[in-house]
């Protein structure tokens, strides 16, 4: 079974620990006084961050944990604070004295450590990477994040679904549409409404536009990180074209707040020729880049995530598919009717992730052609009913899981698992045997979100 998420929820008299698998959902009740659970990380290593987070958020003890370090709460975070408890209502935190974090390291003659971040050299998000090195060779890497921890889960409590939307839209800029689609599905479940076919198509179209823009950016940056800047110039132009088209379609270059239930008439002037041009350019790009041996020399066999490792770490999205794991939330009758089939690659290396992105862009273009609508109807929502709801979406990074509990019409618990939260935990598997200079290349080929991970 594949582990999707594991999170806690506080109720009036107990805690619920919810473990979501691909085939079932398990719920365990714990007392409020002595909450403790057993770890799943011995069989599912990716359970580790979920459990460390649960401890930081609620103070739940993981009895047989082999890693008790805080995850979200960093060096200056005050002691004994568990912000997700209902009793926590502070609006500010006092900085506590600095408590050093003990990094995972390898020791030995001549082995040294390299610390990178949180602020990096490029225009990218903050996060920390800690390497144990034998000369140029990476022995081990620890990923440490949550610098961007904005407390989104707590922030959304007490808001209605419609009030929450613009915040959910901005959890992770590159995945905004995917987040909004998960929100949309929860809203529809809660109000018991059906989506009109044309708005379902319109939203799906926006999601593919978002995927194209994000993939194109990566397709430029991956060769750029191997020292080939011309690819970035080429793809960033196409990505810009895509963002401009997205703005024409929905009024915003990233589609913030675009998923709604209103009526729309779409501005499709020039849209078909944009798709035709993009298709031509991506075909040129593929034969051009894949015909440069010195570049492929950097991509091939770099940063391999083996098939069994992807399964063991419950990896999702681009990273999983590039390692031969066929998982994609779009694999539904609706998408299949429009010609969707899961793209995969076998190699698990930078090359595989690069080629997968090219193929996914092509597939998204084909999908958009079939999904295209010019008119979207309004639907009027009924009042929401209280309950537990969850939804999935396939963002440009991978499977997104969102769960919302509504009480008295307001959000009582908001939980979202960005695909990056799972995938970051598998990043270190790609490092041994590579040189540290290849790290940016490997990292970019996965292009995970920091904001969505940190919340």
């Amino acid at each position: 079974m594949r582990l999707i998420a594991r999170y806690a929820r506080q109720r009036a008299t107990d805690f619920e620990i919810i473990t979501v698998w691909d085939q079932k959902t398990e719920i365990e009740q714990l007392s409020l006084q002595q909450p403790s659970i057993k770890t799943l990380s011995k069989t599912h290593p990716a359970a580790l961050w979920f459990e460390r987070k649960m401890h930081d958020d609620f103070g739940i003890i993981i009895e047989d944990a082999f890693d008790n370090r805080p995850l979200v709460q960093q060096e200056r975070f005050p002691d004994k604070i568990h912000p997700m408890l209902k009793s926590f209502q502070q609006s500010e935190l006092e900085e506590a004295p600095f408590k050093p974090y003990k990094y995972e390291t390898i020791r030995g003659d001549g082995v040294f450590e390299v610390s990178v971040g949180p602020i990096h050299a490029g225009i990218i998000e903050p996060g920390h990477f800690h390497f144990s090195q034998a000369g140029e060779d990476i022995l081990h890497q620890e990923v440490r994040h949550f610098y961007k921890y904005r407390g989104i889960e707590k922030m959304l409590e007490g808001k209605s679904l419609s009030q929450a939307k613009s915040i959910i839209s901005r959890i992770s800029g590159n995945e905004s549409i995917a987040y909004q689609l998960a929100w949309r599905d929860i809203q529809l479940q809660a109000s018991g409404n059906e989506l009109a076919q044309n708005s379902q198509k319109y939203h799906a179209m926006l999601l593919e536009m978002e995927r194209i823009a994000h993939h194109l950016t990566d397709l430029g940056f991956i060769p750029n990180d191997a020292g080939f800047g011309a690819a970035l110039a080429f793809c960033s132009k196409l990505a810009e074209d895509t963002r401009r088209q997205l703005k024409r379609l929905c009024g915003h270059r990233f589609g913030f707040d675009a998923v709604d239930f209103e009526a729309h008439t779409l501005d499709l002037e020039g849209f078909d020729s944009f798709l035709d041009l993009l298709e031509k350019e991506i075909a040129f790009f593929e034969s051009w880049i894949l015909g440069i041996p010195s570049l492929l020399d950097r991509f091939d066999t770099t940063g391999i995530l083996k098939h069994y490792q992807a399964l063991k770490y419950d990896v999702v999205g681009v990273m999983a598919r590039a390692s031969g794991v066929a998982t994609d939330r779009r694999d539904t009758p609706f998408y299949q009717e429009h010609g969707f089939s899961i793209e995969t690659q076998e190699g698990g290396d930078v090359s595989a992730r690069f080629k997968l992105r090219i193929n996914e862009v092509k597939q998204s273009i084909a999908l958009i052609r079939k999904l295209k609508v010019s008119q979207v109807d309004k639907i009027t929502l009924s009042d929401t009913k209280d309950g537990d709801y969850c939804a999935y979406a396939e963002s440009s990074i991978g499977e997104l899981f969102m769960s919302i509990k509504l009480k008295n019409g307001l959000i009582n618990r908001f939980y979202v698992r960005d695909p990056s939260f799972i995938n970051w935990q598998a990043l270190h598997l790609m490092m041994p045997g590579n040189i540290i200079a290849d790290f940016p290349l490997i990292n970019k080929s996965c292009d995970l979100s920091y904001a969505g991970n940190d919340l």
């Binding site: 602020i119 998000e125 903050p126 921890y149 901005r170 800029g173």
Partner: protein, 168 residues
């Protein structure tokens, strides 16, 4: 490579908004002595993300695409705060990130300026205030200029930077 150069020649130059060049020329003249003294003809920016959604960063990256080609205006993004004239700050100043942001500011040599990018640093964009957010950033840093938007589009960023130069 031959194919690439063929494509390159056929594509030509895509850079738009050349009117900004004229504007910049005018500004350059206006503040020539200042920019020469302080920036030696070019402005070095260090972008620092204090807890953004990453769209503001994406728009800054877009500034280098062939349409905008920011470098032509003599404005560069640099890898270290120690090389920077300006710290371009995005995000809501999270509790976890604030010490690192302040450190980056400390590392920037004088004279230095802080520009707030997007609605996050000063107004938290749509985010509600909370324990993990320390915005507004001007409580901790002397913010000279603000480029509004969520995110500000690339052209708005360029205009914002030019406005900042005029302000000096």
């Amino acid at each position: 490579m031959i194919r690439f150069w063929n494509k390159r020649i056929k594509t030509g130059i895509l850079t738009e908004n050349t009117e900004l060049d004229q504007e910049l020329k005018a500004i350059r003249k206006e503040i020539k002595s200042l920019i020469n003294k302080r920036f030696a003809g070019s402005l070095a920016i260090r972008m620092v993300d204090s807890g953004s959604c990453n769209a503001c960063e994406a728009e800054c990256n877009a500034l280098s695409n062939p349409y905008y080609n920011l470098d032509r205006l003599g404005i560069y993004f640099v890898a270290s705060p120690r090389h920077a004239d300006v710290m371009l700050l995005s995000g809501v100043m999270t509790f976890n990130m604030t010490p690192h942001v302040l450190n980056a500011y400390k590392q920037t040599p004088e004279p230095k300026w802080v520009i707030a990018l997007g609605d996050c640093p000063l107004a938290q964009a749509p985010f509600s205030p909370g324990f993990a957010i320390k915005a507004p950033a001007d409580q901790y840093l002397p913010v000279t200029h603000h480029i509004p938007g969520c995110p500000p589009e690339p052209l708005a960023i360029i205009r914002g930077l030019l406005d900042f130069l005029k302000k000096l």
